[in-house]
């Protein structure tokens, strides 16, 4: 919302400075977004009076003037033809910057005579192109600021333009008068009385208006009046200046009148060229659907069933509250004008405007809510202005429907206001504020003014009182704690787990990414998603059409982008939600890591090598350990098809309880996503890791033996597809009390063993508890290990 300072002063009698007004606006909730202050750069120009002017002894065209200024009489040399005794002028003293000539005035000598300043022309102050001579003012006191003089006598020249942001609850502030009312309530002046008397009609209005019965809730009231014999010309200068200042283009007087009241009073009007209205009848009705109209913007619109339209005897002529039609619009030839002031339902107007994609000043105001009570005044104000500038004879006013009743009251609870705001505001002050804003108080019941559709309860009264009192003055008061003393922990176990997983991943060398929760359908489909349930209805682009079913596709896309930038060795991870459906709660927390390329750049030590499955396995195990997963897990196969079928493992507690998956990403997936592989990944489900059962921090007692542990190595030849974990578990089962650990330390495939065979070597560590192991005890356990392993695997001890 834009307006000028002098426009504001049409409604507000105030002595406040521009800065005071700007501060108050922002503080009141009408946030100032910008000010164009054309006066500021002329701030130092003052008014002077030429006491005498004599010809320069050495120059025909120069005058030596003695000029009275606020600093006494100064000698100024001037070359303007009108420089003469007895005129009131504008003086730039030494040190003043003159914008039109881009010069700062100094003390100088002109043809041998000293000059202490300059008398300025309009062009030199960039007020106009006038440069035939220096300014001669018809009034003004010596020493007075020229800007102040302009503000009083020719305000349009220096009228600051103020732009404020309007929150959706304040349609009244979309009119200059509403803004003035807020400032008056704050104490920055008094609101001027502005409403005019009704204009007597000179003849019956020849155009009739009807509102169809089923349309009365969309357009409860319609006021109209015809004025005949008008002359539509360009608007008077003051009106053109105002509209231009706020960024509107003056069109013709009749149209400009409607724009003026739109901004002056938040009262959109429409003017029809009455001679083009067919059948002398206007009808407000609901669209049947399919009707069309070329709007004032010269675009054709087609209407949906139920939109509010205004038609004459033959055609649709206007989209109610949104835009008029081109055919019946006023032009320079218009001599008979029909003025419309109606009230259109905000919700319906919003839907219509949104559906037709029309953003007009009228729609913007009707959908927020104009003052229905002011509808008849709108007609009268417009009539007076038209009669004054365009002449003509007014008809009687015709009315269809009736003004909707907005009367409602809410209780003012002064104590509640203080308790909510936390500020001492006397009840009398509260009442005074509300009264100044147009509320009418009866006892402690406040009647809401018709221009405040947003006030819908007692809490709204509190807001009005608080914002006028100024929240800037509010003093902070400590918030009492719910618990005294040392703060208690505030994170849930899962929140702690999430943080721990995140920091462990980073400690393992992964860089954390935060990627968008939505990805393209193809990538989602590669990871089991991409179905309609997880689809956005209005994605911002086709790259972001589906909620991600997993974190890996986002990380793979990130890898592809980094590879394209020449970064090939990547360790990326993300912690965040993935979505298995489109209902609230159909999301689950994941931790995923991705390794691509090598463990590091090629190096002199030969340490760099391509990343492999056992890197991600180690990392997945480390993160699981950090978040408290049990050490004893199963490694199963058969995970989803985006994993390499032979190179992945599911870390499980039983076949259905999957804590995580690690492995190589399927080469086809990499190809589809333009990632140069191979790539290794892991995904963990932190919510699946069982929460510890015991409460309290006490650890189990440590039992350690002083007796020496013994290690024995075994090598078995087994079929190549026998898994190491089978051997380990079998060996561990040989003597659960004695065998502390079984560790695979070598794998050898093929060679002399023949195809389809491999050798696995285990170290079995035995920890005696009660007495030192004797050789025969060790041999007994060894025999048991061999028996268990060969039985479990069908393999043999390697000789």
């Amino acid at each position: 919302m834009k307006f000028t300072l002098s426009w504001l002063k049409d409604h507000l009698d105030t002595k406040a400075t521009l800065d005071e007004i700007l501060y108050a606006l922002t503080d009141l909730g009408l946030e100032v977004e910008g000010v164009e202050d054309r006066a500021e750069r002329l701030r130092d120009f003052t008014i002077g009076y030429v006491k005498s002017a004599e010809k320069h002894p050495d120059a025909e065209r120069l005058r030596v003037c003695q000029v009275e200024t606020d600093e006494g009489v100064k000698q100024i040399i001037c070359g303007a033809p009108n420089a003469r005794e007895g005129i009131t002028v504008v003086v730039a003293k030494p040190g003043v910057y003159v914008p039109g000539i881009d010069t700062t005035i100094g003390v100088g000598k002109i043809r041998g005579i000293e000059s202490f300043g300059m008398m300025a022309s309009e062009r030199e102050m960039e007020l106009s192109d006038e440069h035939d001579g220096i300014i001669e003012l018809p009034s003004g006191e010596v020493g007075q600021s020229f800007v102040d003089w302009l503000a009083e006598n020719d305000p349009a020249k220096v009228d600051p333009v103020i732009e404020i942001a309007i929150t959706p609850n304040r349609p009244d502030a979309l009119g200059v008068r509403g803004i003035a009312r807020d400032l008056a309530a704050r104490g920055l002046g008094t609101l001027k009385a502005r409403d005019v008397d009704a204009v007597e009609g000179e003849f019956a209005c020849p155009i009739t208006v009807t509102i169809e019965a089923d349309t009365l809730d969309q357009c409860p009231v319609f006021y109209g009046r015809l004025i005949r014999g008008v002359t539509n010309r360009p608007s008077p200068q003051w009106l053109q200046d105002r509209l231009r200042a706020i960024g509107l283009r003056p069109i013709s007087f009749l149209v400009d009148v409607t724009n003026f009241f739109t901004y002056d009073r938040n009262r959109p009007l429409h003017v029809f060229d009455a001679d083009k209205v067919k059948g002398n009848a206007l009808r407000v009705h609901r669209a049947k659907g399919g009707e069309t109209l070329v709007g004032l913007d010269e675009k054709e619109y087609t209407f949906d069933e139920g939109m509010t339209l205004i038609s004459d005897a033959e055609n649709v002529e206007s989209i109610a509250g949104v835009m008029g039609g081109l055919a019946t619009g006023c032009t320079d030839e218009t001599t008979s004008v029909f003025i419309e002031a109606a009230y259109f339902d905000p919700i319906r107007t919003a839907y219509t405007g949104r559906a037709l994609k029309i953003n007009s000043d009228a729609r913007y105001r009707f959908e927020r809510g104009i003052d229905p009570e002011w509808t008849p005044y709108g007609i009268e104000h417009a009539t007076r202005m038209i009669l004054e500038y365009a002449g003509g004879e007014p008809s009687e006013v015709i009315v269809a429907g009736k003004i909707p009743d907005t009367n409602r009251t809410y209780k003012l609870d002064a104590a509640r206001v203080q308790s909510l705001v936390g500020m001492e505001i006397a009840e009398s002050e509260q009442r005074q504020t509300l009264t100044a804003l147009g509320f009418r108080l009866e006892g402690n019941m406040a009647h809401v003014p018709s221009w405040r559709p947003d006030v819908m309860g007692e809490a709204d009264l509190v807001e009005e009182v608080a914002r006028v009192a100024s929240l800037t003055k509010l003093k902070g008061t400590p918030l009492p704690r719910l618990n005294d003393g040392v703060p208690r922990p505030i994170l849930s176990p899962l929140q702690r787990r999430e943080a721990m997983a995140r920091r462990t991943c980073a400690a393992l060398g992964y860089n954390e990414c935060v990627s968008y929760s939505f990805i393209d359908a193809a990538s989602a489909a590669l990871f089991g998603g991409g179905n309609d349930a997880a689809m956005l209805e209005n994605p911002i682009s086709s790259d972001m059409s589906h909620m991600r079913p997993a974190l890996l596709p986002g990380l793979l896309q990130a890898a592809a982008r980094n590879q394209a930038r020449g970064y090939n060795d990547l360790a990326l991870f993300e912690v965040g939600p993935a979505f298995h459906g489109g209902e609230p709660g159909e999301q689950h927390l994941l931790v995923s890591g991705l390794l691509v390329g090598r463990t590091g750049p090629k190096d002199v030590l030969g340490a760099s090598r391509p990343v492999d499955v056992f890197d991600v396995k180690a990392d997945a195990e480390a993160v699981l350990a950090a978040i408290g997963a049990p050490a004893k897990v199963q490694i199963l196969r058969g995970a989803a098809p985006w994993w390499h079928p032979g190179r992945h493992g599911k870390i499980c507690l039983g076949p259905k309880k999957v804590l995580g998956i690690f492995g190589e990403i399927h080469p086809k997936v990499l190809a589809e996503m333009d990632v140069k592989g191979p790539a290794m990944g892991f995904t963990l489900w932190p919510e699946e890791v069982p929460m510890p059962r015991k409460a309290g921090a006490t650890r189990a007692a440590l039992t350690i033996s002083d007796l020496q542990a013994v290690e024995r190595d075994f090598a078995f030849v087994v079929d190549a597809d026998v898994e190491a974990l089978t051997l380990v578990n079998a060996a561990k089962g040989a003597d659960k009390a004695l065998i502390e650990d079984v560790h695979v330390f070598d794998e050898f495939i093929g060679g002399a063993l023949g195809d389809g065979k491999k050798s696995l070597a285990l170290t079995v560590r035995m920890q005696p508890v009660s007495e030192t192991l004797k050789e025969k005890d060790i041999e007994a356990v060894s025999a048991k290990v061999i028996e268990k392993v060969t039985k479990a695997t069908g393999g043999t001890l390697r000789g």
Binding site: T26, E31, G457, E463, A506, E512, L536
Partner: protein
């Protein structure tokens, strides 16, 4: 005997390696060495002679032995020195690569915010990213026709043919978590709700996903003055500037009443933003007293309870604090950016250890 001593000591001194030294040892003090031979001669001596020669020979033997040992360790030292000289390495060669992981600024700043509000007694509440339009709008006093709905650029979920429920939304703010937590826990309440939110907007300063933290405190007599104190304390702690100036401006949100936008003091010098100095103001936060209708929607009696709520952008305050210029880069996962703006894994922000890195 002095000749003998002289001879061997000088031979020892001249010995060049361990084998030469061994040869000298055998020749001098070995079983058949010269000193041993002299020892044998003792038996032929008179007791008086023996009394003189015996100790002298023993002393000679000891002296040669210790000279041998000294020389032996000197030779060993010299050999070690020589070896170590040969073992010179170019230690300016690059070290073995240890990968250095990083924490994303959003995670780091979320932890900073959590540490501060945790100290003030707020716990962390979470909620779904896909939510019903009731939780996202209606419960927050934003009815269907409210202009705020259109202004929020909401993402809607697809609805299957025949499913006539209103479409779910990607939450446009973290405020639905307020409602869910009020429903679940009732009053009194002190929570913050950090997390991702979504709006259909993409340009230099907007991304379709960003992060907010919401705060909510409900009690019998909480006022806007408490809200102001909490936020002043927060900004002082977060930006680590004591007495940082904030400005409360009246504003409007459907879910709070009265409402205030909060600005913090800043300056712009050569296009660079500095927080906590100067005469300019930067809007960072929306807040207010929870609207009675919102309390009622959360199942809390607005006659008995009142409280405040606030919401701010995590990405935004991260940008302000750490001087990160472009929001879009937060979600691009450019390795260079992650390394430059990321935080070390063990750099966990705490109030006792400090929040800034």
């Amino acid at each position: 005997m002095d000749d003998l001593k002289q001879k061997y000591l000088s031979q020892i001194a001249d010995a060049g390696d361990e084998s030469a030294l061994e040869a000298i040892r055998l020749a001098a003090v070995g079983k058949k060495g010269e000193v041993a031979l002299k020892m044998r001669e003792l038996g032929k001596m008179t007791p008086e002679e023996r009394q003189v020669a015996g100790p002298a020979l023993n002393a000679l033997k000891n002296e040669i032995n210790s000279a041998l040992n000294a020389k032996k360790s000197a030779l060993a030292d010299a050999a070690l020195d020589a070896r170590l000289r040969d073992e010179w390495l170019d230690v300016t060669l690059p070290s073995r690569v240890r990968p250095r992981g990083t924490i994303h600024p959003i995670s780091q700043v979320t932890e900073e915010v959590t540490a501060i509000f945790g100290e003030m007694g707020f716990s962390v509440a979470e909620g779904p990213r896909i939510d019903t339009d009731w939780y996202n709008f209606d419960a927050l006093n934003i009815p269907g026709h409210h202009p705020a709905r259109a202004e929020m650029d909401t993402f809607y979920m697809h609805r299957a043919e025949g499913d006539n429920r209103p479409p779910h939304v990607l939450r446009t703010h973290t405020s639905p978590v307020q409602i869910r937590t009020m429903e679940a826990e009732g009053a009194p309440l002190r929570i913050i709700c950090p997390g991702g939110v979504y709006r259909a907007d993409y340009d230099q300063t907007h991304t379709p996903m960003f992060h907010q933290v919401e705060g909510l405190a409900i009690d019998k007599d909480i006022s806007m003055a408490n809200l102001k104190w909490v936020l002043e304390e927060f900004f002082a702690a977060f930006f680590e500037i004591d007495g940082i100036k904030t400005r409360f401006r009246a504003s409007h949100f459907p879910f709070t009443e009265p409402s205030a936008e909060v600005d913090i003091q800043c300056s712009w010098i050569d296009g660079q933003l500095r927080i906590g100095e100067g005469d300019d103001w930067l809007e960072v936060l929306g807040s207010g007293m929870v609207h009675p209708k919102v309390l009622a929607a959360g199942g809390i009696d607005p006659e008995a309870w009142q409280g405040f709520a606030f919401g701010m952008g995590i990405d935004r305050i991260a940008m302000l604090k750490y001087g990160i210029p472009d929001l879009r880069a937060f979600f691009d996962s450019d390795l260079r950016w992650l390394r430059h703006y990321g935080f070390a894994s063990l750099d966990q922000p705490t109030l006792h250890g400090g929040l800034s890195r």
